[in-house]
Every structure is written in structure tokens, then in C-alpha cells.
Amino acid sequence: MQDPITPAHEPPYVRIRNLDKVYQSRRGPVPALAGISLDIRDHEFLSIVGPSGCGKSTLLKCVAGLADISAGTIEIDGRNVVAGTPENLGMVFQRDVLLDWRTVIDNILLPVEFRRQRKSEWTDRGSKLLELFGLRGYERRFPWELSGGQRQRVAICRALLTDPRLLLMDEPFGALDALTRDELNFELQRIWLETRKTILFITHSITEAVFLGDRVIVMSHHPGRIEETITVDIPRPRRLSVRETPAFGAYTAEIRTTFERLGIMKKEN
């Protein structure tokens, strides 16, 4: 097993140390995360895979400054994430959370509206992003005129609009059908290769985690802990067919074995 912490000579972009998160609920405290330490390097694509309820969303919210942490530290680019969110990060959720009453382009421009910047200066970039995702000419459409995959593409465009260095994605393709999901997996890799964002990508699909990640962090639940970190040594660009190769299978098997050992997945024989 490898260490999720990078060697000291390479300063990480995101640095998390001994993070605990306890929710206070009516039935008492709920420990959601315990002793999370991990680094995300600049330009890295980091996948986190774990069973439902293991605290993946919580971890993401802590990094985004949306949830206050119970113990430990989170630093982004050397700056502590306390209350309030870091300056420039993009977020994509499982549900696309597009505003139904706004056109596609106005949805994409929402972040700059919130930041009180001139929309007109960003329209061109919005259109370019749409084009990048194969949605050229969709500016004036409404979300309810789009398919699920197209809507999620728009949500990713919105997250990328202000060119954030860090992109946080919480099971972004979890609600899509398998074919669309494959398509978007491939597209996301392409966009990442072009833009080299730092991406924290959460999923409950082992295959997706390995296909997209430079590294995969495997989490277990009650409370959420890091069980294992795997470096995926498959050259890019990875084609979808790479998932049928023995090398790829070795990675997914390793993760599956970990889940079996933890009793998260039943052993099959």
C-alpha cells in the first residue's frame, strides 16, 4: 500500500491532514470522516472510490469550505480553508442543478454573475466551452430541452467557466445511463488532458475511478477512512477499451479485494 501523502520535496496543491468531521444530528454525533490525510498534486486527477455513505460528499464539501471541519487542517495552495470557500474552484454534482428558467448560456454564466463581473466578457468563453463539449449552438436552449448527458455537460461547462485550478466532482455521472457515462468519461479525460486542471473526482464505480484517475483513493465507511491509495500506471490518453486489458483488470481487482476484505463487497465464488 502506498502513502496518500506526497514526498516532502513536492508541495501539493491541496493538503489535508488528520481531518475529522462529526455531524451533530438529533440522534447524537455522527462521525463521517476520521483521520483523513491526503495530498492532491497540481494538475493531478485524483479519484476517490468508496461505498455509499462513507463520507465522500462530506470530504468534498470540507475541501470546498461548505462544511466546517471538526479537527485537522485543509490547505489549498498553502492557504487554510477555514470558513468560506476558496477563491476559485469549480463544482459539479450528481444532479446537474441547472436553473430551469435560464438558457444554457445564462446557466453557464451564473458564476460570474454571482461574482459581480460583466457577463458580456465571459460569453465568448462560455460558447467555446460548449463547443468543446459538442454543444455548439445550444446557447439559447433551455435545460428541459436537453438530455441528461447534455445537461451534465452544461454543468461541467459552468464549473469550468472561470478557469478554476481545482475542480471538485461529486459522482457527476452517477445518474447517467452506461453509454452516456462512457462517453462523458472519455470526454472528461480529453478536457483534463487539454486543460490540466487539478481534479478531485468522486465515484462509487471502481471502473470509472481507475479509468480516470492518476491515483485512486479507496475509502471505507463508519466512519469514512482512507484504506488504500493506488497509483494507476496506464498511459494517456486512455481509450475506453483499455478497461478490458489485464493491466486495468489488475487495478480493479485490487480495489475489489480491498472492499471484500472490509466486508463492503461479498466474496464471490
Partner: protein, 282 residues
Amino acid sequence: MASRPKAADRPAASSLLATLWARSSRVRTVLTVLVATVIVWELVCRLLALPPILLPAPTLVFVDLMKSPDWILIHTGYTLFATLAGFALAVIIGIALAVGIVYSPLLERTLYTLLVAFNSLPKVALAPLFIIWLGTGMSPKIAIALVIAIFAIVIDMVLGLRSVDPDMLDLAKTCNASPLQTLMKIRFPNALPSLFAGMKVAISLALVGAIVGEFVAADRGLGYVILSAQGLFDTTRMFSGLVVLGVLGTILFFLIDLAERLMLPWHVSRRSEAAPAPRHTP
């Protein structure tokens, strides 16, 4: 990945009539039922030879309406004004109260609790009180319409403002949106479908309020027409008033429905085409 618009959205000129015909199916059903009712009503009156003082035939009512259309129209105007004024005030004040309730825990605990408790009171019982407070002119009618209508607005608007996807609010936070921006750009538009549902109930209730006000003390308005006709045992005239009232209520309801269709295409496109279930608590 070009997705073509559905044929029903952009009809060719030739198929426009066919489209209109297909789309008006609900209206046609309503009209058919109405016409059938009127025919049955007429037949019952004639076949049973009912005296008009009990139940006047539709033709008699029609003749009565045509005798003095100007006079009826003027009284309709009074009632309409009281209804619309009460309704408009209910919408404006109701939205303001709902925003206050959603944003202030103090208002939520005090005002909202009070409103919900107050809602179970039959508001028409307040009418005599308003006459004492505001006299017998237009203002007490507006006030009663307002008081009856505002609950539907506040309660539905609070519901709408609260039912925001938490992820959406998180997204706004990551963009450093101010509370005002979150309200104006997310919560408020998100609450519009709910507001319209409330307004559809409120417009009918405002009409009830105006009529009740006119019943208690008035010398004009449709409520006055009905009540004074009762004093003369002029049942036909009473029915004239009722028919106009029914037409007025229906038109007002469908005007709001139309406004909703124009303003919230995203919502209407998703909503089932089933007729809304009536819910009334005047």
C-alpha cells in the same frame, strides 16, 4: 447530437389548425359539459314547468341579463375592482411576509405560527368587523378579499422558497453569492411555480371575499345585485348575478393559468396536463 424540436412545438402553418384542435381538448371538454348542463337545465325547467321563482330557465336568465347589460356591467366592475385590488395586495404583502418568514427564524416562530393558527378561522366571519373599521365603501371589500386570499399566497410561497436543491445553494456559496443574490437569482424564481399555485387559489378566494363584503354592507357590486334581488324575490335576477360571477371567476382563474404558461414554460412543460384538483377553504 442534434436534437430536433418536437413537431408539436413548431407546427407548420398547414397543421396549425390541427395543433390548436389537439391542444384545446381540455377547453373543448369543459365547453361541452357546460353546454350540456345548460340544455338539461332548460329542459328540466320546461318539462316540469317550474315557476321561475324557484328555478328560472337559462333563457329567462339570458333575457334578464340582456335587459340591462350596462347596469350589470357596472356592478361587475365594482366587484372586479375589489377582487383585483385585494388579490394584488395579497400577492405583494404575501410575498414580502414569506421572504421574511424564510429568512428570519424569529418571524418564522412568531408570524408563521400565528398565520397558520389564524388560517383555521373562517375569515368570512371577520367581514362585519371590517365594516366597522373601514366603513361601507370599497376599502372593507378590498380588505376582506386581501385577508381571505393572503394565506394561500404566504403558505405556498414559503414552501416554494424553501424547496431549493441544497446543492444549488452550495453552488451559490462556492461562487461567493450574497444572500440577496441567492434570493433573487435562485430562491425566488424557484418559488414561482409554487407562487402561481397559490395565486390560482387566492384569486378565487379574493372573489369570495369581495362578495362577502358586499353581502354584509353595500349598495353596489354583484353581491349587492344578488342580495337586493333576493329582497324582491327576483330569483331570475339572482341567477343573473350568479352566472356573471361564475364567468368572472373562471376568466380570472384562466388568466392566471395563462400568465403561468407564458412566464414558466419550463414548469408547465413538466407538469402533468391533468386538471388541478380544486382546494378551497374560504
